[in-house]
């Protein structure tokens, strides 16, 4: 299931809704992404982030998220999955993204969850505009994110 929304989400309620009545599920893996204030990490030399605005491409966002979710279901035996991605204005500490995968066994749930967040970061059309004391700046894409997504391509090639 895909949800692209302005509103916050509640992890417990989302997992309850996804797994209720599905007694074949033996494990649920989840990932929650938060707005990080990079100034909290001295190694980045970054300025304090007051807030950010997430822009997205309505239509393509849902399509890309549905495509990567379908790919996860092809690669792993999953009973259920959920991706929630927020857009609009967010403050440091706010939840941005949720990925939940449910499976009879833990390994499929954990791996599929990692796959989804890695792929989402390089495929889903969202852009972060950070507000800093010296003005608004578009966040640059990170090569580390491309490398994390590429890891799953190599895994596929090895199969």
């Amino acid at each position: 299931m895909i949800k692209v929304q302005r509103e916050d989400f509640d992890l417990g309620r989302e997992i309850d809704a996804l797994t209720r009545g599905r007694h074949g599920i033996g494990g649920v893996a989840s990932f929650v992404g938060l707005v990080r204030d990079l100034a909290g990490d001295p190694s980045t030399g970054a300025q304090a982030v007051r807030s950010m605005t997430l822009e997205h491409y309505p239509g393509m966002t849902e399509k890309q998220l549905a495509d990567i979710e379908a790919e996860a279901h092809r690669r792993w035996k999953l009973d259920a999955s959920l991706i929630i991605h927020r857009y609009g204005r967010l403050d440091p500490g706010d939840r941005i993204v949720l990925v939940v995968c449910a499976s009879p066994h833990r390994q499929a749930a954990l791996e599929a969850c990692a796959f989804l967040i890695d792929w989402l970061k390089t495929k889903a059309p969202f852009w972060k505009l950070e507000e800093t004391p010296t003005g608004a700046e578009w966040v640059d894409a990170r090569e580390a994110d491309d490398a994390a997504a590429a890891r799953w391509r190599r895994d596929q090639a090895a199969e």
Binding site: G33, L54, E55, H56, Y57, G59, M60, K63, Q64, H85, I96, V97, I117, L120, K121, T122, K123, A124, P125, F126, W127, K128, L129, W138, V139, D140, A141, R142, D145
Partner: protein, 83 residues
């Protein structure tokens, strides 16, 4: 043809979307970009760093050599930074 621009491409072109009819000689995305750059300084600035521009046609990622049709939805944007 419906054109969409996101993030700093939207800011530089000064518009989020527009309907344009490129000349018949424009067959690929790269030719479309060259034509857009003739429309004004905002477009010139938007497409001045092509290594930081991605393109989607009908909401799927495509290479710049991709052939386009008059009814397509073509979107330009920087590398994505969600998650």
């Amino acid at each position: 043809m419906k054109l969409l621009y996101f993030a700093w491409l939207r800011q530089r072109t000064g518009k989020g979307e527009e309907d344009l009819t490129p000349p018949a000689s424009v067959a690929t995305v790269v030719e479309l970009v060259e034509w857009l750059k003739t429309l004004g300084p905002g477009y010139m600035r938007a497409f001045s760093e092509m290594k930081s521009v991605r393109v989607a046609v009908n909401q799927e990622y495509v290479p710049f050599t991709y052939k386009i049709n008059s009814g397509d939805e073509v979107a330009f944007f920087p590398p994505v930074t969600g998650g």
